[in-house]
Symmetry: C2
Subunit: 567 residues, 2 copies
């Protein structure tokens, strides 16, 4: 059994000979053959510290004795000890070989090298087909090998199983098959790392529930690889949109002892509990306490109770009222015991904040943002999106194209209530002016009443919204908005913030909140207050919306939920 | 006193009239005058829910009774209730007015509107100069106003103090002064929000220590505004570099109950302590305990002790061995009680991981990354960098240009020891093969021995490095590297990871680490293992390196340190 766990022989080389099969490709020289070593090295004879003496051999020609004159020191040290750091070369990936309009036909005849993991291997009488994936795209590179290829013995000996890592050299040829335009005619194959036969990611389909227990291996599947790439593209598109619009990314704090977070149950962050991974048998008596038997927070790391943030908004406002337009993009936390397919204890939030802006500007920004990132994914993740359209949610590309192209609609909360009251269907939750909208109501409005179009509902009753939202002139509603999208319901929630000091203070009094805790938040209204607005977007909800994946645990690499923080 | 806190009269408008002074500028029409409302609205007579009825007025022309036919429902709802969301318009910022090679001369004669905060106001006999900053760049827009300008009475009444927010309309003219090429000849000024005279950010210089107690206002200063912009640019350049190199951004988990983190003291994350912001008088007795008086972790949120992550590397490796090249960029935590100018309890880390890569590739990537982001900042933050060069660290632009252009050097740890032993100076910490290098040693090597050039030291003794680093053939050293830069010392630390299952298992045994905890990490070596390498970079150290700011608390918006988690 142990033998099966050993890496292939080719791995048992000196650390530097690794390079013999690691190949890098210079962008300016795409036909570079990767088995020709780029950086030829003369290995020195072994001495006490061979790695080090190897360095020296770089500069043998220029080596000289260490100078003692201070003036010459720098030069001498550089010549005596230093050698240059090599040039960084982007690896040639399968996406580059097969991507592009011609699907690789422009590379026919090129000799190249690809490294990746074996997805399948099938041998026919005279020819062996190996499908290799390197994670750069959904599709594999089909490698066709005859028995005269170097390393073919590894096929015969059964070293090349699904999951094994390989380095393959060959020539791109037009494919005989219909599934791809080009394939690689193999000249040489090296098994970099064998795969034990217990590998759980075999060709047969396994459930997503099972794969959650293998979160370290699931990105090797088609679905989770595609989710990872689309998630990455959404994150980058988010940065691009805000940066191109002149917003500044602000790191809102994760740990906060500030009293003015409010909403949502929070995780406590502490060093009072003298626990560690090694020793979790912690006596209650070890926790510092006051004479009265209370926890002695003064001995905690921050000198008082500290929590994981539930939102970076209030901190974002401080920077928006200095830099005009900012956004946060970071993790936030809820300690709610919700074991559903919609909730995570740890998730990423995007929270832009715009100064000199009202609710209309806020809605316009949220709409432009969503359309931008959706369009960006449709244009840059075509293959992955076709996969989702075929296997996860039929018609998702059409649905997203509508979002990217059609104008969004807005309507007042009061109108939304009117629509719901007239709806020819029964809801589980009551519909009445003054009550919050439930997911079933939100989805009815966007999916049915407005036929799948995203809808923004605005001007909610102030009683069901947060203290910081700007009061409308009616005295009953606040300048809040929720963007509803099909399948998800609320995707984005935002508001204009109350910038009038006396109104905000009155609201804090009304809600019996401690004004002193909010001293710095109120300061923003004391010193050059401006109308400002912002919104929040749960990043994982966005990934769900764009991929069609129904369980939120499958759109974040390592989901944290009640009783689960594995990996 | 209370009256001084009130916003200026012009703010006490109906929520929608806000737009009268909020101005947005269409990129395709830069001469758009911002006091001409873009979205004209007919305010309806007040009724029960005016915000809502206002919406209706958009579609008065097409309003009709709610259709009852199901087939027509969508259309009717849209016409009856929905109105379109407005177009998102980028605000015109001072950076756009004065930026560019001509410093604004191309805009002479343009009528435009700028919103921002007053930095200074000085009145001469016939003319008043107001310097306005909107956070988009370091420099202010000089606004020149005669007594015939609309709103001049607010100058006379003293409403326009440092810190007040204003909206200014006027015409760009060539400046008489030498400090700027253009200025704004004011036609109209509106005070958006007054500034109370207690405003702590006055023109006189205040200490950075003091400003740490005003973290919500300090981005309004020159120094912290510049730091925020450079920090933002470094973050975006980081994403750009990795995205353009084919890396996938991976969200490594923040909360982890995994046993294999190891290094560094960790914060415990718990819901066992029934505390909240409102009620921090928590009795020790309220913590669930077992019969033996131990903390009952089974009742905690995750069912066992959970901690804040100290590194996303091990998680990153799982994705690198599926997607080939990945990077994390997220917060990490250390609960060490270090009250120094170099340590934060919460900081952001960038951790790339490259598959099919060895230590040479890792060094090449780290070097290319650092050169890319430094170059990007020098090109995109010219004004801010000149500010740092003048006021924070003389010569920083020259130093950074060297980093961006010169080749980096590498040398072995053994050679580094030799250099240190020969150094003609006394170190506080001993120098001996087998001991770790201290900051004084690192800085001597990069600053003195190599004259200010970044140097990578590689192949450290395995005893002073982490278990996962790949053992070199000498059996004594591991394929680790630290990049040293002047002023900071170690900026980047990385290694090739041990990809050989049997070597890694032997190392875990040697260190008496529990192999079962590492089951998923070892799986990566069981199933298609590949040579892989990565590095870690503390983002705040990078911001310090690029700005010259000496205290790490001044390069993150809201620093968390022992006894301090305010805001």
């Amino acid at each position: 059994m142990a033998a099966a766990f050993l890496p292939a022989t080719s791995l048992r080389l000196t650390p530097y000979s690794t390079l013999r099969f690691l190949s890098f490709f210079s962008i300016s020289n795409p036909s570079y053959s990767l088995f020709r070593p780029l950086r030829r090295r003369v290995l020195p004879p072994f001495d006490a510290f061979p790695a080090n003496s190897r360095r020296r051999c770089f500069c043998t020609a220029v080596s000289e004795s260490l100078g003692s004159g201070e003036g010459k020191k720098v030069d001498n040290y550089e010549k005596r000890f230093g050698s240059k750091v090599g040039e960084f070369r982007k690896k040639l990936k399968i996406a580059e070989v097969k991507g592009g309009a011609d699907e690789g036909l422009g590379r026919v005849g090129q000799s190249l090298n690809i490294m990746g993991w074996v997805r399948t291997l099938r041998s026919q009488s005279s020819v062996t087909f190996i499908e290799i994936n390197d994670g750069s795209c959904l599709s594999n590179l089909q490698c066709v090998m005859n028995s005269d290829a170097e390393g073919y013995d590894q096929v015969e000996s059964g070293s090349i199983l699904t999951g094994a890592s390989v380095s393959v050299q060959g020539t791109i040829v037009a494919s005989q098959g219909t599934k791809q335009k080009v394939e690689l005619k193999v000249e040489k194959i090296i098994v970099v790392g064998k795969c034990d036969s217990s590998y759980p990611i075999q060709k047969k389909r396994v459930s997503r529930e099972f794969l959650r227990t293998k979160a370290h291996l699931r990105p090797r599947t088609n679905t989770f690889g595609a989710v990872a790439r689309v998630r990455n593209t959404l994150a980058y598109a988010t940065h691009k949109f805000f940066q191109e619009s002149g917003f500044v990314w602000v790191a809102s704090p994760i740990i906060t002892a500030s009293d003015c977070e409010g909403a949502g149950e929070q995780f406590c962050v502490t060093t009072l509990i003298p626990s560690s991974h090694e020793n979790t048998d912690t006596s209650i008596d070890a926790i510092p306490k006051t004479k009265g038997g209370l926890i002695d927070w003064s001995q905690d790391f921050f000198g008082k109770p500290a929590f994981l943030t539930v939102s970076g908004q209030l901190n974002g406002e401080t920077y928006a009222t200095a830099l005009a337009d900012v956004y946060t993009f970071g993790p936030t936390f809820r300690a709610e015991n919700s074991n559903t397919s919609r909730h995570l204890a740890e998730f990423w939030m995007i929270e832009p904040e715009l100064a000199f802006a009202d609710l209309d500007d806020d809605m316009a920004c949220a709409t432009a943002y969503l359309q931008y990132v959706v369009k960006y994914v449709l244009e840059n993740c075509k293959e992955d999106m076709e996969f989702f359209d075929t296997w996860i949610e039929k018609g998702i590309i059409r649905r997203l194209s509508d979002v990217a192209e059609k104008e969004f609609l807005q309507l007042g909360y009061t109108d939304a209530i009117e629509i719901l009251l007239k709806a020819k269907r029964k809801f589980d939750f009551p519909v009445k002016w003054g009550l919050d909208l439930q997911s079933e109501h939100e989805r009815y409005i966007t999916e049915e009443a407005f036929g799948g179009r995203p809808v923004i509902i605005r001007d909610y009753p102030k009683e069901i919204k947060a203290f910081y939202m700007r009061e409308n002139d009616d005295g009953k509603t606040v300048a809040a908005m929720d963007m509803l999208v099909p399948r998800i319901g609320e995707l984005i929630g935002g508001s204009q913030r109350e910038e009038r000091l006396e109104v905000l203070e009155a609201r804090l009094d009304e809600l019996k909140l401690n004004k002193e805790s909010y001293w710095w938040y109120l300061d923003l209204r004391r010193y050059g207050s401006v109308p400002h607005a912002g919104f929040g977007l749960g990043f994982e909800r966005l990934v769900q919306f764009v991929t069609g994946i129904d369980n939120i645990r499958d759109v974040i690499p390592f989901p944290r939920t009640p009783a689960s923080a594995e990996f």
